[in-house]
Structure formats: structure tokens, C-alpha cells
Assembly symmetry: C2
Homo-oligomer: 443 residues x 2
């Protein structure tokens, strides 16, 4: 309520820019106003709070109202927390289907459309940017859409953006896939599963991260993107998103149940989530590592290469033309021959190459070992937080270069990692956090 | 974010009036801003979402942050829905104590401070305004603070306001109780259990109404008001808040557990919540009914009188000087003798009498029976909604006069109730709702 007539007249309504765009009217339009009625589907949210399992139609009604921005953040929080209490596999499937139904959907000519996804949580784990060119070089259709980082120091879209434009309209994306089999684009542009974007705006500040919402979010986006076959990477480790084998198996089964009912073939792979992957954390340094692997440079990070080739092998195993279990050898061959690098260069050129140099931020600080010993653990969460404090992912050159990985022997005073930043404030914040606890266990 | 320099300069911050008052600074004060850190207690909310029972200290930390307005509505919704999942009796007690600890607390000289409370949900159930004068006439200390209606057509504070000023500063409230034993004031002025007010702002739009929050809300306010003995009225009926005997017993036990641990003696009374009490619904018409009972008028609503005398009897039974079980007879005597009326008149005069006439709204509409028969049920929720649509409680003269109660025999076309309003819009809204379904079952 504004009572200043110089701002707005007594018979006028002013809206914020986002609300005004969403309304889709021109300034000066006459409107009638009425108190907003709460969306009818809130009744179903209340029943969920009361402990009921909801039917498919009820969940669909909720998701339609969520996608139409009829829910307040307060109401979305009520829905998400009620679901966190318990959610049946049938409800998770209904949620996934409802999220697909309210969004855009991509269609491809090929009967086999492959994809690869990681549930996240491991810094530096940029395997998609190696898997996709390998798969494209083999000739499978792989239209990879990724998100930007929300709580991590970099998402695949952020890292790919160091090398090429990732903000592609649907027609261009389709054309690039038609010509080069693959793309590495930002999914936010395409409007896949818009309800998920609304839910995420509440999940993230509350740090709600349930298996059911994760499965619905990932599978809805893959189905909407037109994928038929998916390799899903679940890192398991003490500081990863999934911390025990039993949780990993529960999550795998939920992914399998929902995927099967959505008509998506899924292969779940458990990977070692005990420490960050590769050396660089943050867009520029991750892109550098990815290109080093694709270029077969001798000092390219081995763990990133091995991890990526293994996943690419699983994707290639979806190809009926590949003899059972020979996907891994084929992936290794495509990487070693330079075919994957050539595919990546074609994809970069098609999306629009960036001129930017792959140079880490000019300001740096070295975090050193307090004592001599053997590195027994690296805390993924801590490394991610330090890299974010340094400025990643907004500052693409900010992040961390890891010089020691698990198993490494250090003397007191040896450099464990180097924090890079473009601003002194970012460097100071990151240094303070690393001084509190560098995230390394040395025994 | 505002980008219009005529509204606010580039180095200035503008706040809404409420936020500005809360900040407690004068205009033009230099301030430094920083991104708000999420309150540390949110970690405990997350653990509650994960299904843990929280410790006393954790709940206290949450309630301190809630009372200090450090939680967004989204975060409060997450807390409330997580609690709706399950809450132990120990947690409910800890919540109650935490809510008392963050607010103002009244202290009285008397070792016996009595109160009476109803959990609500039954239109016209204004027994407090009869119980309190009876108890005051007897000589017990009864500083009754009430809320205004939030979702009902009138709260005790709204109805009492028809007769007297209810917005009393703490010193005046204390002085009136010292002189007249009792008061009938609006509790919002005194700052009892401020966390509850913050939680209610989210509970109401979400229509969250769990037993645990209800118990913590009511008991925290009674303890903060300095009560030592409480009679608690739980109406049970098909359209009341409590709809089954088993729910009523569960709620009673929770009230008893928490009260005992808070050092409050409680007597829980189950009452008939099958239909509205009295004839009037809405501030003016309820005040008229209350005064008719106190004046012993022959046509005063019997159910309101019986209900109030029974509750007053239970309150008087707290007096050690009263022989066991003789409270009811004493209450009846104080009402019949006019002592209760005299006490009410002293309380009204002390708080400041209103000049306003007890006249229902000048516009009215009669809701008629569609068929002949016997009235078997009256829907409390529907009657409340119709009265609110007519304008109650903001329009004090708006509401409903019930001409037929359960058991009443009607012919087709007989008037069931009369809707009163001061505005045509209110009358139209209420008439439309009543036409849809008048809320009467006639068999």
C-alpha cells in the first residue's frame, strides 16, 4: 500500500518488473482487482500435511497451480515439507509426470536419445563435458541441457560457458543437435519443467533436499528434454549428497521405479564421492581440466578422465550396435584418438566459441598443511564453500586448484590448494573460511 | 530494488512503515547494510523436517528467532508443517515454555488467579463475558485477556468492544483488576507470547490447526497472563474444531500434560458443540445476548446462560472456600441476584463504556426453510462464514440472528435466521453464500 500520489495515483496499480511481465499487459491498461482466492489445490496440500497419500489428479492440480505462480513461497514450503514427511513411490511418479505435463517438451527424430546426469555435490565433477563429446563422436544423439550452479561453485552450464555460448533458443539447439548429434546448453532457456524452477526457489533457501523431489526434478527434466536412455551418476561418500550404501540403494530404486513408469530407460552408477574430482573447482579451472582430458595432455587429471570414460562407456552400451560391455573400450578409443576433442570443438564452434582466456583469477592465496602426514579425507562441502566465497560461479576465474588429493603425503607447510579470485574481498572471505578449517584431514 | 531517484536516492534505504517502526531509528539515520544471514536455529528446523524430536534448547532457539522476526513466512511454514508431522508431548511443553519466555509476563498479588478459555469454533459462544463478572462478583481475581477474531465472526475482544474500551495499557489493566477483581481486555496490547502472534500469521492463511500448536498457544498466553487456574472449554460436535470423543480426549490429555509441567492447574470441560450458542452471531448481537443473560431477561438465550453458569461453577470450584461441587449453585445465585450484572457494569465503567447502541445492522435478509420438518443440525462453519461475509467482525453490527435452533420444528418458508449488515455489498455476499447452502439440516 503506497500513499504517495507522486508515486502512483489513487486509482492506479504499480507492479514490480517481474510481476508486470508475467501479467503481459501494457502500461495504462484498465484492470479490475479482487482479493486473490487461495488456489483450490491448497486443500490437497492440507490433506498431505494431515498425512494422506494424494492421488495423481490431486498432485497434478497442485503442480499446475505452482507452475502458474498461484502459490506463495509460504504455501510452497508447506507443500515441500509435507512431502518431506513421507511420499509414496506412486506419488513421486505422479509428481514427475505432473511436472513434465506443465512444461515445454522437446522431440527428436532418433529413437535413441541418450543423456547422462549426476546428482551433484562433488566439486570439479565436470564429466558431462567429456562424456557428451565422446558420445557425439560415436554418433548417438545427446542433447544435453544443464543447470547453472545454485549452491555449488559451478554447474555444467557455468563451466561450459567459459568455452561457448550456452544460452540457446530452442530452434538453434535443435539445429545444432541435428548437425552435430549433441549440444551442451543451459536448460533454463527452454522451459522444461517450469514447476521445478518454482519449487527450487523455495527448496534452496530452506536447504530441503529429499530423494523424492530430487528424482521428480531430474527425471521430469530428462523426459521433457526428450531423452529415452539415461546414465545416472550417484556419488557416495562421507561428505557427498548420498552418504551410505543403503541410502544409495533406496535412491537407485526410486530412480528406477519412476523412470520405468515414465518410459525412460535408466542405468544408475554409484561412483566414489570421497573427494573432489579433478584439480580445478570453479568454471575456468574446471574448463581447463576438461580440455586437458580431451586433448590427452599428459598431466590431465586422471580421476576426471577415468570417471568420464567409465560413464561414457555406460552411455555407449545403450547403442544396440555395440557388443555388450564394449562401451568402455569404445569410449577410451574415441578419447585417445582425438575424435572426442574434434566433436567438442565442433560443438563449441556451433554454439559460438568464447574468446575468454582460461586463466585462473590473478589474486591467490595458498592453503598449507598444518602438519606432516597422509591425506585421509577431503571435505567436499568445505571445498565448495571456500570456492563460492572466492566468487565462483559468478566470477568465472574464481575457485580452487587442488594440489593434493586423498592419499597424498605432505610435509608441514606444503601447499594443499590455491584459492584464486578476481576481487580482494572474495579472496579474503575464502581465506578466512579456509583458515577456520581447510577441509583436509591429515593423519 | 527501486531505480527511481525521485522515490529514493542511490545511497538511501526506504522501509515500509511496519519495518521502519520495528527498526526503531529516526529518518535520516546512517545505516550499514549486509545480506541477512539465515538464523542459526534453521538447522534445528531442518532436523525436525528430517523427523527428529528436538531438545528444549533447540526449540527455545527457534522461538527466540521467530519472536525476533528473523524467520521468513516460508521458514515459519516449514517449521509449522514439520511440527504437524509429529511432535512429542515433551516438545509441546518445550514450545509452550519457550513462547512464555520470549514475551511479557503479568504478575498478581493473589495466590489464586483464575481464567476461563474456549478453544473456539462455535459461533455466538460468548460465555467469557458472563463467566468473568460472576467470578469477579464472587471475589476471585480473573484478569481475562482475549483475542480479536481471526477467522471467526467475532472474538471476545470484538464483542466486549461493543460495550467498553478493550485496548488497555498494562498499568490500567492492573489497576482495574486491583479494584474490581477482573477485566475483559484485548490481549494484543500486552505483548503476551509474541512468538504466537508471528506463528498465527502463517497458520491462518494455511489453515494449519494442530493440537500441539493450539495447546502451546493457549497455555503460553495463560501462563504469561499470570493465571494459576484455568477452566478450558472444548466444544465437541460434527462441525466444531474437535469432532470426535477420541480427539477430544487426546487434546484434553495434552492440555493436562503441558499445563501440569507449566505449573498451571487446568480443568478441561467437554461441551456440546453441535450448533451455535445463543441467538446472535457477530459483535453487536452477541453483546445483546450477553447483556440479556446478565440482566436475567426472560427471553435471554437459555443455552448461553446454562453454558456460562456451568463454566463459572467450575471456575468457582477452584476457590478453597467453596465446598466441593457447590460452585455451580454459587454461580447461579450470583447471576440471579444481579451481582454479576453489577460486576459487569463496574468493569465496563472502569474500562470506559461505549456510547454505541446495541442495534443490528439496518440492512437485513431472511433465510427461509426450503421444506417443513425438524431441524437436526446447524453447521457452525457455514454460519460463521455467512456472518463474516456480512461484514463481521469489522462491521460490528453485521452478523446473524438465529431464530431456529436444533430441535426446532419449521414449516416451509419459515425464517431460519436473519442476516444483518451495514453495507449492501456485505449483505449480498452473505445472502449468496446462504443461498448456496444455508447450513441447516431439516428432516
Amino acid at each position: 500500500m503506497v500513499d504517495d500520489p507522486t508515486m502512483i495515483g489513487i486509482d492506479e496499480i504499480g507492479l514490480g518488473e517481474q510481476a508486470f511481465q508475467r501479467l503481459g499487459l501494457t502500461e495504462g491498461t484498465e484492470v479490475e482487482i479482487a482479493q486473490a482466492r487461495p488456489p483450490a489445490s491448497l486443500e490437497f496440500v492440507r490433506r498431505k500435511i494431515d498425512g494422506e497419500a494424494l492421488g495423481d489428479g490431486e498432485i497434478a492440480a497442485i503442480i499446475r497451480d505452482v507452475a502458474s505462480h498461484r502459490y506463495s513461497h509460504m504455501e510452497i514450503a508447506a507443500w515441500l515439507v509435507a512431502c518431506a514427511g513421507f511420499m509414496t513411490t506412486q506419488e513421486t511418479f505422479a509428481l514427475t509426470r505432473a511436472m513434465v505435463d506443465v512444461g515445454n517438451r522437446l522431440h527428436w527424430q532418433s529413437p535413441l536419445v541418450v543423456d547422462k546426469h549426476c546428482i551433484g555435490g562433488i566439486p570439479g565433477n565436470r564429466t558431462s563435458m567429456i562424456v557428451v563429446p565422446i558420445v557425439a563422436a560415436h554418433g548417438l544423439v545427446c542433447p544435453k541441457t544443464s543447470s547453472r550452479a545454485i549452491t555449488s561453485p559451478s554447474g555444467t552450464a557455468d563451466t561450459m560457458e567459459v568455452l561457448a555460448n550456452v544460452d540457446l533458443p530452442e530452434e538453434r539447439l535443435t539445429a545444432i543437435v541435428a548437425e552435430h548429434n549433441a549440444v551442451l546448453a543451459w536448460g533454463g532457456r527452454i522451459g522444461l519443467s517450469p514447476a521445478d524452477d518454482v519449487l527450487i526457489a523455495v527448496e534452496r533457501p530452506l536447504r530441503l533436499d529429499t530423494m523424492e523431489q530430487m528424482v521428480a526434478s531430474i527425471i521430469s527434466k530428462k523426459v521433457a528434454a526428450g531423452s529415452t536412455h539415461l546414465v545416472l551418476d550417484i556419488p557416495v561418500g562421507p561428505t557427498a549428497k548420498v552418504r551410505s550404501q543403503s541410502d544409495a540403494v533406496r535412491l537407485r530404486k526410486l530412480f528406477e521405479y519412476v523412470s520405468r513408469h515414465m518410459g525412460l530407460t535408466v542405468k544408475v552408477v554409484f561412483t566414489d564421492g570421497a573427494q573432489p574430482v579433478g584439480r580445478g573447482v570453479g568454471p575456468v579451472m574446471e574448463a581447463r581440466d576438461v580440455m586437458a582430458v580431451l586433448r590427452n595432455e599428459p598431466d590431465a587429471p586422471e580421476d576426471l578422465r577415468d570417471h568420464a570414460v567409465m560413464l561414457a562407456g555406460h552411455v555407449l552400451d545403450f547403442d544396440p550396435a555395440i557388443e555388450g560391455g564394449k562401451g568402455y573400450a569404445r569410449a577410451l578409443e574415441l578419447l585417445a584418438s582425438g575424435a572426442a576433442l574434434a566433436a567438442m570443438e565442433r560443438i563449441i564452434a556451433a554454439q559460438g566459441a568464447c574468446e575468454q582466456q582460461l586463466v585462473p583469477g590473478p589474486l591467490w592465496y595458498e592453503v598449507k598443511a598444518a602438519r606432516a602426514g597422509r591425506t585421509t579425507a577431503i571435505d567436499c562441502e568445505r571445498i565448495a564453500r571456500v570456492a563460492r566465497q572466492a566468487g565462483a560461479p559468478m566470477d568465472k576465474a574464481a575457485g580452487i586448484d587442488l594440489l593434493v588429493k586423498v592419499g597424498g603425503i605432505v610435509r608441514a607447510g606444503d601447499v594443499l590448494y590455491r584459492i584464486h579470485a578476481s576481487s580482494q574481498t572474495g579472496l579474503d572471505f575464502a581465506r578466512d573460511l579456509a583458515s577456520e578449517d581447510p577441509g583436509y584431514a591429515i593423519a
